[in-house]
């Protein structure tokens, strides 16, 4: 009796999870299929892989600078991710390990920035950028997203699990504060770094609004900008379009798959509070 109940429960669980998994994965599966089919097949609702993949890619490469856009996107995202996790992890560590009333207050104040609608700050930021010559540069792209409260918080919360006696012991051994951070903290926090890197990379990779504003030069164009340009042309080749969507999605997926184990683990520390 109990056993049947157990198996029924198990079955329901799996059914629910399967339904949601399909809901989440199907649109991407559809992109994959579409990228291998011709425009006509895609619209007629074909759900099997076609033979047009190479052709779609060729059309794409012919009409758009897909390599340039990919390289730009990779460059911006990687630089942004590295800069961001360095700056934010040091800050998160600082906020927690050296915390006092003033720093806690300051952190609360910084949390306010999560409320600021980007539309509101966009134009003043652009005006300053124009004066400083930051348009069309990697630095310009990354600056607003290098230091984010979310990432600082991730590291701050995770630092709570970092044993303080180790720090004390190291200090007695004469280790410098920076030495403690790099030699002890960084290696033990790999999971947090993985989580932070995944989130930052995805955000940077998919950034559209800001990129569109400051990258006026075609040679500085990113993949999301390219896709958005593609849907306004006189002729739309769905196969080519879906190929571009696929190309723009793959790298973030790869990053996620590579870091997925540590990703969940890294988040664990963050929500423990």
């Amino acid at each position: 009796m109990n056993k049947t109940k157990y198996w029924v429960g198990r079955g329901i669980k799996n059914v629910i999870l399967t339904i949601f998994s399909l809901f989440c994965v199907f649109p991407l599966f559809w992109v994959l299929i579409a990228a291998t089919n011709t425009s006509v097949d895609i619209v007629s609702g074909v759900l099997l892989p076609g033979k047009n993949m190479v052709e779609n890619f060729r059309t794409l490469a012919e009409h758009y600078d897909v390599f340039g856009a990919s390289w730009n996107t990779v460059k911006y995202s990687v630089v942004c991710t590295i800069a961001s996790i360095i700056v934010c992890s040091i800050a998160g560590y600082g906020f927690e390990i050296y915390h006092d009333k003033v720093k806690d207050r300051l952190f609360g104040l910084l949390m306010l920035t999560m409320m600021i609608p980007f539309v509101a700050t966009m134009l003043p930021l652009y005006q300053s950028y124009a004066k400083l010559g930051l348009l069309n540069t990697t630095l310009g792209f990354i600056l607003p997203s290098v230091s984010t409260v979310f990432l600082i918080m991730l590291f701050r919360q995770n630092s709570r699990t970092f044993p303080k006696d180790i720090i004390e012991a190291a200090r007695i051994d004469g280790e410098s504060e920076l030495g403690i951070f790099f030699k002890m903290y960084v290696p033990t926090m790999k999971a947090t770094y993985a989580a932070g890197a995944t989130i930052t990379f995805m955000n940077a990779w998919n950034n559209y609004m800001w990129a569109r504003l400051i990258m006026s030069d075609n040679r500085a164009q990113t993949l999301p900008m390219m896709i958005s340009n593609m849907i306004t042309g006189h002729y739309i080749d769905y196969g080519m379009l879906m190929m571009a969507v696929l190309i723009s999605t793959l790298p973030t997926l790869v990053v996620f798959f590579a870091l997925q184990k540590s990703f969940v683990q890294g988040m664990t520390g963050a929500v423990k509070g």
Binding site: V87, I90, T137, S176, L213, A220, G233, H234, Y235
Partner: protein, 452 residues
Amino acid sequence: MKKKWIVLLLTMAMVLGALAGCTGGGSSDGEKNGDGAKVENDTGSESVNNASTGVQKMTVWCWDPTFNINAMNVAAEIYKKDHPEFELEVTEISAGDIVQKLATSTSAGNTADVLPDVILFDDSLVAQEVVSYPEVFMDLTDAGIDFSEFSEGKVACSVVDGKNYGIPFDSGAAIAAYRTDVLKDAGYTIDDFTDITWSEWIEKAKVVKEKTGKALINGQSSYNQVTVMLKSCGGSYFDEDGNIDIAGNKKIKRVCELYLEMLEAGVYQEEVGWDTYIGNINNGNVAGAMNGCWIMSSIQAASDQSGLWAITNVPSVDGVDDATNYSSQGGSTWTITNECKNVDLVIDFFNSTFAGSKELYDTILSTCAISTWIPAGESEAYTEEVEFYGNQSVYATIVDYTAKIPVSVINAYDASARQAVCTAITNVAFSGADLDEELVAAEETVSFEMEQ
């Protein structure tokens, strides 16, 4: 104690180093991307010494690789024959982004770094942008371009306060294109849709829908369709003095009624985006298209449908004054910015190409860029019979249509007004609101926007 300070300094140095690392990366590609700007600076001082040479490079913003970018490239090839040192740099940028970049760069005061020499605009936007940013656009009235060689209605799109601000490019003459095979299934020919009124059109379209299951035409929301209909009877959202005229405007009301009627009957299919609009035409889900003639370049992309299409004029709005079977929608105009580095070069370029080369217009004819430069229309290429349209001489037909387009009043707030009227239509169609009330509300919305 000192050691601690060293630690502190080291930390700062570390972080600064990390930041400087990205700065380095940033500035290096800043140089790469910004070399256009560099050249300008160098040659800027040069041109003081030697004014006759100047910069030999022209920068352009336009948006479609198969259409206007292609046209610009062809023009550059032609110009290079006599000016081998001429260099063209085209930036592909969507029409929406152009408007945004103008807003940002003028507010930041860096138009000199951002804006190119030449910008292409949709005809419906030129007046709006010139009024919004008068300092950006060059007055071309006495620049040496013979505007009398362009069709009159087209030139009017880029005239603000009696001054010319644009060099016309492609025609926006409205056409109705239909799939003759589908019409045949419904028992019609293309002639049944020529020189008719909208009421007749809707009746016939219902038959097509009944017999073939297809909507006759589609459109991206109601924007383009309403423009086609309104302009065919010389209607406008504003009177000649620039006063808003929506609520009591008989033409607008009649257009809305007809539009709602065809939407209700299912003979017009509203699309959300440009991509699905084109997609449904190309895959035959709708039996026709009605828009500016440039839409033909998209229609022709479905090469498997060669011979199945034919074009004719648009229906006329029955029940109002000045109704005709001719209209315009879209089409585009080149403008020159005040940041232009070598005005003489750019003017000479246009006089040798878009305002002076039959060869150019003949070459780009295959992409359905129909000239508004009158001499080009006299070229032999325009009499060609096009196989895709069942050997109809479509180009000559369109040139003929272009001459018959009624003139309507143009205003900087046209886009806002059109948006408001289309919103009114949506509210009536989907929320059962009252058309008269909605049009009053639309007028209020626009006048609200105008007071700033």
